[in-house]
């Protein structure tokens, strides 16, 4: 057992950089979209960890900050397309908040590309897989976060 463990460990060490990406997906559209991607057996990178929220409007900038502080390399906030939000205008305030957070990153001298906002509807399983693939590539290019 210990042998296998150490074997696994060395293999892990040798593996290329695999970023961790936190996806905040709203229950009504984007999470359903992710579900559809799953049932349609679409392939996308396994770097993401999905956090389901009732509405993308629930995602406070503090959640995003915390995700990064706890070790995420990228954060994707996904919600319904404008006009489709289950709670009417939740996603509009998300847009403002994510923009503000990106501006704050800029003030702090940090990479704004690590944070992204996307609209993904329940029927867009394909789009979900595409966005995840693309975003993962982008984060891989940025490389691991350089902590002081």
């Amino acid at each position: 057992m210990t042998e296998t463990n150490s074997k696994i460990q060395t293999e892990l060490l040798e593996e290329p950089y695999e970023p961790t990406i936190i996806v905040f997906a709203c229950n009504w559209c984007s999470y359903a979209g992710a579900d559809l991607a799953g049932v349609s057996r679409l392939k996308y990178p396994t770097n993401i960890r999905i956090v389901r929220v009732m509405c993308s409007g629930r995602v406070d900038p503090a959640f995003i900050m915390k995700a990064f502080l706890k070790g995420a390399d990228g954060v994707l906030v996904a919600g319904c397309h404008p006009g489709d939000c289950h709670y009417l205008e939740g996603n509009l305030s998300t847009e403002v908040r994510v923009k503000n957070t990106q501006e704050a990153f800029d003030i702090l001298g940090w990479e704004t590309d690590r944070l992204r906002l996307e609209w993904i509807s329940a029927s867009e399983g394909k789009r979900f897989a595409q966005i995840i693939t693309e975003f993962t590539e982008q984060i891989k290019e940025l490389g691991p976060i350089k902590k002081r």
Binding site: L69, A104, R148
Partner: protein, 379 residues
């Protein structure tokens, strides 16, 4: 005399030099002066005297109490025994730790501070109009104002203007400041007991200030001023914007029209730094006729929130009282001057939250803003 027993479980948890805590609390003879002046006591059951008493009887300070105290230091001002209660609270916070849900705004500002310490390699970037000069030996640091603009949902309050006014003023007296790119000063981390985060930013800032070769550092915020001057070990002169203006007020060409104004002594500028007169002199020079509060200078009541801890109904009640005092002094449409970015934020926040809470039409302004508006000099 009661002393803290060495076996006390809290005592073991509070990892302090014993003598420090002993001298801190053992002098208390339970006169209750502190409780009688405490701004929180006016609106809640908060009782510093009782907390001290219970602590000596081996009851730990509850999380509620730990996070409620505003560390405004008014109690220390009146205590006949000079018991430093706010420091006791700070040290207890440091040892016990405060959970995230005690902070206002989902703790975003403290998270940012930790973020700045851990994740970024450089200081904050600023974007202001006017003349700046990276080689100047007089530096200006605006503080966190641009972040307040991003994360506080205030429609009518422009934090950026605090920094813009300061730069306008410096330009008007013929100085192009070095807009120094520091990290957050760390005041809140220090006072909420997160010394790890505080040390990270302090080390960066100290190093950066040293290598920048400046001789004077001007700041707008009372907390920055207190932190850089008192807590850091810097060999540059730290000036609050009011002190800078006071030295240069001849060059600012004030119109001299008189108007009524109320002034609130921020705790970090007043009680902590004993700076009561300079801001008043500056405001008087602009033509202000200062209508003093009944309780002013070292007896000023706090604005209601400190270090983004717990903005609750009690804080609101304290803020509303401050507005009420202002309305009594200068009328419902008068202006209140403050020397601290945080006071500016909290009081403006409660102001924007109008009906049905209140209907004050008061304006809360920062000293630099008032000076910039009333000075007729051209930059």
């Amino acid at each position: 005399m009661m002393v803290i027993s060495d076996q006390s479980p809290i005592y073991a948890a509070v990892n302090l030099s014993k003598s420090e805590l002993k001298t801190m609390l053992s002098a208390c003879y339970q006169c209750s002066s502190c409780t009688s002046v405490c701004p929180l006591r006016r609106v809640s059951k908060f009782n510093p005297r009782k907390i001290i008493h219970k602590f000596k009887m081996d009851t730990p300070v509850s999380e509620e109490d730990l996070t409620s105290c505003l560390t405004c230091s008014l109690c220390l001002e009146v205590c006949p025994q000079e018991v430093d209660f706010p420091e006791f609270i700070r040290l207890s916070r440091k040892n016990v730790g405060i959970s995230d849900d005690n902070f206002a705004h989902h703790n975003i500002f403290n998270l940012i501070q930790i973020f700045m310490g851990e994740m970024t390699e450089s200081g904050m970037k600023f974007d202001f109009q006017g003349k700046t000069d990276p080689t100047s030996n007089i530096a200006y640091f605006p503080g966190c104002i641009d972040l307040f603009d991003r994360f506080l949902d205030l429609k009518e309050t422009d934090f950026h203007q605090i920094g813009q006014s300061a730069i306008n003023i410096m330009n008007k007296v013929g100085i192009s400041p070095n807009l120094i790119s520091l990290k957050c000063c760390g005041h809140d981390a220090y006072w909420t007991g997160d010394e790890g985060a505080y040390d990270q930013v302090r080390e960066y800032n100290t190093q950066f200030i040293k290598s920048s070769g400046i001789s004077t550092l001007v700041v707008s915020c009372a907390e920055c001023y207190y932190t850089f001057e008192k807590l850091y070990d810097l060999d540059v002169r730290v000036q609050h914007i009011s002190q800078f203006i006071d030295e240069n007020k001849e060059k600012l060409g004030f119109k001299g029209e008189t108007y009524d104004l109320a002034y609130h002594d921020a705790c970090r500028l007043g009680r902590f730094m004993k700076e009561y007169d300079t801001p008043r002199n500056v405001l008087k020079a602009t033509g202000a006729n200062i209508k003093e509060f009944t309780l002013n200078k070292q007896f000023t009541k706090c604005c209601g929130v400190s270090a983004w801890l717990k903005c609750d109904d009690n804080s609101r009640a304290i803020m509303l009282r401050k507005l009420e005092e202002t309305a009594q002094a200068v009328g419902n449409e008068g202006t209140l001057a403050v020397g601290c970015t945080k006071c500016f934020a909290h009081l403006n926040c409660v102001l924007e939250d109008r009906k049905p809470q209140h209907n004050f039409q008061i304006k809360v302004k920062e000293i630099g803003m008032i000076v910039d508006e009333t000075s007729s000099s051209k930059s």
